[in-house]
Amino acid sequence: MTTTRALGSTTGVEITFILVGLLTFGAAVLTVTVRNLVHAALWLVVALGGLAGCYLLLAAEFVAWVQVLIYVGAVAVLLLFGLMLTRAPIGRTTELDSNNRWAALVVGLATAGVLVTVIADAVRSTWFDPRAVVADGTAKAVGSSLFQYWVLPFEVLSVLLLAALVGAIVLSRRDVSDQDQYQDQYQAPAAQALTEQSPTPEAEV
């Protein structure tokens, strides 16, 4: 678990990690506190990109590029689309936070306090060298372990993605829920007009 590195020595990798981590943490704080919703989404992009940098420093390069592709690429665009489609307030607004800010602050600080205390105490004397396991993070290594040991979860995951895709399409299509409204609005008056012009069957009889 621990390497033979002399205790307390700080490497360049660690200093870089702390700097990137501070950037990530600051961007995350801005994501949840900034008053402009679009700016919050863009700060989230910074935070996720910083996390990709952290993965690189932890020698998980394949995960880092997956993070850039999916989070920074796809999820951020999806969130911006969500903001656009729900006509979210684009500018600065004060309606973004709910009234229970103090309760949220207390819960957040308590979470941070408990987690950081427990973790710092648990791994107080644990050092590791990410570069010693660098072969585990390449696309080749991750791919071979993915398709050797984790094939069944992988396949289950593709079924899950298919289900999520179908669910999202069903939820967001318009024509199902609008069909009745459409008939009421356009077809029913037309049919009524037709029956008013032409003599009704009862009248003929």
Partner: protein, 127 residues
């Protein structure tokens, strides 16, 4: 590298996500906070993968699984938020309290929501 720095970063990100999830009103902003929570867990997985040197690559493979699940969750969540917006004209989750009792926990039932007025675009689509 000291194991404290990545694990502390993950714990702090998790706490920030918890705070954001509780404090935001807009449902899309709440989804952003949920992304922060999931990413904190991802960082933990990657760190422990390097720390424990797992032979099966479990930490990194599970990180990729989690990224996939999070992407699916975001897609479905946004679809649900979109339905909420279409049916009620707002994406603020404070206004969606049909399940709350009157007076329970100090909640007051809001006046019945009015559906959003059909915009020009919607009319054009309907025609």
């Amino acid at each position: 590298m000291h194991a404290v720095s990545p694990l502390t970063l993950a714990a702090l990100l998790f706490a920030v996500g918890v705070y954001g999830m509780l404090v935001r009103r807009n449902a899309v902003a709440v989804l952003m906070a949920v992304e922060l929570l999931l990413n904190a867990v991802n960082l933990n997985l990657v760190t422990f993968s390097a720390l424990l040197r797992d032979r099966l690559g479990m930490g990194q493979v599970f990180t990729i699984f989690l990224i996939t699940v999070a992407a699916a969750e975001t897609g479905l969540g946004l679809a649900i938020v979109l339905m909420l917006y279409r049916n009620r004209g707002t994406a603020a989750i404070d206004d969606a309290r049909e399940l709350g009792e009157d007076g329970a926990l100090g909640l007051k039932r809001l006046p019945s929501p009015t559906p959003p007025a059909a915009s020009e675009n919607d009319k054009a689509v309907a025609k």
